[in-house]
Subunit: 763 residues, 2 copies
Amino acid sequence: MMDEKLWFVEQSNYKAYENPKYETVFTLANGYRGLRGWLEFSNYGFPGNLIAGVFDKADSQTTELVNCPNPLVFNIYTENEKLDIDRCVVLDFARKLNMKEGILYSEIKLKTQKGKIIKIASERFVSRSNVHRWGIRYTITPINYSGKLFIENIIDGSITNNEFEPIKKVKHLDVKKGYDLDTGIAIKVVTKDKGIEIVEGTVVRGIGDILQNRKYGVFGEKVREIYEMRVKEGKDYTIEKYGVTYTSRDTDKDPYYLLEEDIKSYLEKGLEKELNLHRDKWKELWDKIDIKIKGDKKAQTGIRFNLFQLSSSAYEKDDRISIAAKGLHGEGYKGHVFWDTEIYMLPFFIYTNPEVAKTLLMYRYNTIDGARKNARENGYEGAQFPWEAADDGTEVTPKWGVDYDGNPVRIWTGDEEFHISSDIAFGVWEYYRTTKDKDFMMNYGIEIVLDTSKFWSSRVEYNEEFDRYEINMVIGPDEFHEHVNNNVYTNYLAKWNIKKGIELAKWLKKEDTNIYEKLLNKLDISEDDINKWREIESKIYIPKDEKSKLIEQFEGYFKLKDITIKEYDENGMPKWPDMEGCKLGETQLIKQPDVVMLMLVLGDEFDLETKKENYEYYEKRTMHKSSLSPSMYSIMGLTVGDTKNAYRYFMKTVLTDLEDNQGNAGLGLHAASTGGSWQCAVFGFGGLYVDKDECLSLKPWIPEKWEELSFKINWRGAILDIAITQEDIRVNSTDNVKIKVFDKEYFVEPNKDLTIKALAYNN
Amino acid sequence: MMDEKLWFVEQSNYKAYENPKYETVFTLANGYRGLRGWLEFSNYGFPGNLIAGVFDKADSQTTELVNCPNPLVFNIYTENEKLDIDRCVVLDFARKLNMKEGILYSEIKLKTQKGKIIKIASERFVSRSNVHRWGIRYTITPINYSGKLFIENIIDGSITNNEFEPIKKVKHLDVKKGYDLDTGIAIKVVTKDKGIEIVEGTVVRGIGDILQNRKYGVFGEKVREIYEMRVKEGKDYTIEKYGVTYTSRDTDKDPYYLLEEDIKSYLEKGLEKELNLHRDKWKELWDKIDIKIKGDKKAQTGIRFNLFQLSSSAYEKDDRISIAAKGLHGEGYKGHVFWDTEIYMLPFFIYTNPEVAKTLLMYRYNTIDGARKNARENGYEGAQFPWEAADDGTEVTPKWGVDYDGNPVRIWTGDEEFHISSDIAFGVWEYYRTTKDKDFMMNYGIEIVLDTSKFWSSRVEYNEEFDRYEINMVIGPDEFHEHVNNNVYTNYLAKWNIKKGIELAKWLKKEDTNIYEKLLNKLDISEDDINKWREIESKIYIPKDEKSKLIEQFEGYFKLKDITIKEYDENGMPKWPDMEGCKLGETQLIKQPDVVMLMLVLGDEFDLETKKENYEYYEKRTMHKSSLSPSMYSIMGLTVGDTKNAYRYFMKTVLTDLEDNQGNAGLGLHAASTGGSWQCAVFGFGGLYVDKDECLSLKPWIPEKWEELSFKINWRGAILDIAITQEDIRVNSTDNVKIKVFDKEYFVEPNKDLTIKALAYNN
């Protein structure tokens, strides 16, 4: 029972202003779509029905993920008084996300203005079994009266994007048609630019003949049916709501036909049947992804929340889509895909669900033509992946934003944050290194690595004076500094990218000359070119401090005003130091790890002392003004033996959305942070890494209060079950695996526990 | 200053659930349209933009007045936080309807969730000078912050009818087009059945260059523009909102052209100019209509409210429309016109503004073809006016309603409440008697009287046994009893109607044989027919008690279970007596005056004893379950010398909407009650009546606490100013007038006060 509680995220107090946050936290998604945890009985909040891949620009500054018609509208009227939580006395309020089963439970008891008390319990799910389906079961109990209720089922096509920023409100959908499914309703909308058709259908069904006198109607952009109910005091009335969604992305025919058919069979089999299939899927999933932290309930629930929502964001059957920075959980960042996916989220999938990881990379492969277009347009060669990506690989970063005072500011990331291309190439490599999926690498992955290599070789600028290649006018991961030259993260990864390109070309030539030649032909790369790459990568400039192991974030960084963090807030997060009249970009303060990030991504390229020295230097200068920041400092801290901050950074990461510690959870999931949470647990506390010899290695450390940390990973097809306690490390595997623990080699035999006792890793 | 207060209706406390009531109370109307006093900053309530004559059926049970696009939407965002009174702390709240000037003032100070305090003052008016125009002046003051505001101006075409009764929600409008007036916005909608086009346009204009970065857009059925404002703490920012409306009822061309032109000139001249013209019109109006009650502030404000809203409901320039039972103040009774207009409201206009009275009667004349159609369809002859009327005189009473338990009940009034036809004929006569407008009577009025006479002569049934004419299966004014035979009100007025028809036919023949013959020809009435009418009217059965002067409400009424009222509630209104197991229709309890009504309408047909006896009998049996009831008992009480209840019934009438004592003020004005209020004051306390010799007569009585009651009336072109105090009666006139005061004749010379002292009328 106690254990069950560790599967729940709970809200026990209703405050209207918290609705947007809980909409994100209680989003139910299945990778195909996300339904924000919108509360049907409140006017306040931002309903979100986000279907992966449905992008549109219309009057927006740039293309964005479309907020589709809201099918959740479900109004209850006692007599003619609308049940509105914000006008009622809230007698009871509880919402619980059961992460184990992927079900959002709620139980609300309200007293209306007219004194009627009504209880509404509900279970909501978005099916992982059939991604087009979702459902809700309502149980309505009139506590202190008998009489008439009306039940109004609406699909609201009037929805717009950016409701939360009214001046930017954009309408992407035209309503084409309302359908009377009798019973049930459906709507067909079409996006303005690309003509993507979306059909949403819902059917409400009363258990027993309780829904009467149905009326159907189309009200402008809303389709509705309304029913009468005669209710008796104290009796429970159950209504099932069935939802089905299709879009023209799913079919060449009219998606309405698919909807009609699917809704029919859904109704025939019933809600409980789908709910069971859905539960089974989550059971399968949890068996792969769960991380157990014994002795720390908050961490346990927290990490599960991150795993739950990250898993909910992926759909392995559609390789035209990826995971957006805000998941399918909100409109923030316009549903765009960033480096967050490859660098923060991908490792989770690589190690737990490689099928999904492959799909995410295939999305990049499938959008590489857009990346090529970007390169051409910017005067480069090869494939330049966009800093922000939507559905076709072209750059969709908005050019303008506003600062805190509301002044317009030019956004330069789309022009200058080049490192995304090597981040993707790295993702390809990391996937391959872990899975050894040769088919993927030969047919798809290598094309990404080679074409990004080609891009970099055209992007670098030769500096004759120093006989070196430079990459100027860039933004590194730390976005406080724009237009910088030779950002070390960018340069190092560009160098790595080209090197990996050369290495893989050689490999492919050996593996399959035919494919090799075809590919070089396709990419218009000659062997001369590859030789030229060798020269370039060897001469790419990496700024370093001459007297120490300190790496200079970019050329001239050390000459900036050296302001360091002196004070921390009650959560242990840095307070802004006195800027001494400087602008941010004139100081050494950084937003998030940059050099440290590099040392995490390419861990085996740097020795421990270098890591330590740089960690210590940069940690004092990092403001953590990105949710991508704390997790990485946690991992690096554990790597270099600075365990004092690791737990705090970990919890900060894990609770990003649950405690809304970035203040913008309402806009969607901090998806990078969910991936960061997993990395913190597995790469940080678990100390898992792949060494230079591609051997899986562990150097774990767990906080004193943790009794046990355990997780599973998929290493080249073998499922390893790893448990770390204060006394030992246990490894179980489905296959023979060689593993290093604190640099010592072990061989794990199938289904035989390897236990390593009395470790020196504890403090 | 004190006196000024008597011109205000005030709301000083904000409670969301009271919004609908205040929307009605604060409606601003000019007869062309009514704009409900919708509060822009709340989600709760029922906006109403009701344009007289715009009727449509669509999916409604019967044709109804269409709720037109809401042009009042005006959202303010502090940063991106919408100013929503229901989410704010309400620091100050005051709304005041200045009835003298026809301006709704409001001053609201709110603290947002984020702690921003903002004050919004506004003045709203609906012009009486140019009925197409309305306007608002907002003054916005950020009290404790500087920063950014957004101002969102929207016209909402998604509005539907019957929002307050969701199962009956009906959409009447299709949005045809949004217009970018740059600056300003407009919308064109069209009604579903009749294709009436409505265009609404609004322009917001900042005083000083305060509105910036305008964005225009159409969002489905909503047209909007949004502006940015940079505001400074403590500074006032003034924004004027200009509104203009036209419909295809106003023009043969595209109404948009009229709007475009009108909005241009409106903007050129400015808001203040229109406001001044509007104020002037109200000044003119009040000079005619005001009733002064000194010594009783509540009565003074109350009576003015009734005069204000009744005057606001009429538009003398459009004789295709009349005044609905709920005015232009709400959707209640579907914007239909009942006998309320002729019997309750018309006297006010006849005596203060005969031009309007004529227009109201011309509406009946213009819809007489519909009345003829009703008669034909029901198997009768002549003109049968509809119990409920919309735009063409055909019967539009819904056939079905619901009882308190929500069970469907057949509504019989449209089938059986025949007295409306003679009520209208009576209105014609009353207008003529007071104005001597011969032109109207000869060309229009008489046609109504003759064709309703013809109707009645076909409607009566001859009873051979008793050699009498009966009218069976009817509903009288008391709607508790349906399907009754020989309702005395119905029979008596039918008799009167035919008699008046005969009399007027004779008169017309003498006045203008040509018109007379043409008319008889047109109506297919022969002189033989008229002779037959004579026989009919003389034999119409009037049920009476044999042993007393008591009139039996209908045949068999006295045999019903005689339950009388025993207890009264805290407002002095009857409580339901023990029904002793009977159904309502099986008892002598009545909803509202019926016999008493008859004795008021045809006052000179009954002697004082008859009135007294019947008043006393029926008063004990009247439940006042209609807002049409108390006023009539007040007048009759004063007539028969029972002054004890008169004031209470008067105040009940006057405060019907202000105190919402019928519990449904939210659905619209109780317009009959506004007319009843005037009648109570003038016919009741003023004791004004026209005697058998058509001499204007006065028998006033005023309550002890009233220092003076004074009012003006128009009697055959002479404006009489009548003041009644505890000591004397003063009459002033613009012309020579003969007048009786307590049955004694006086001659009033122009502009010379006639003062009659030391009266015996006080108790």
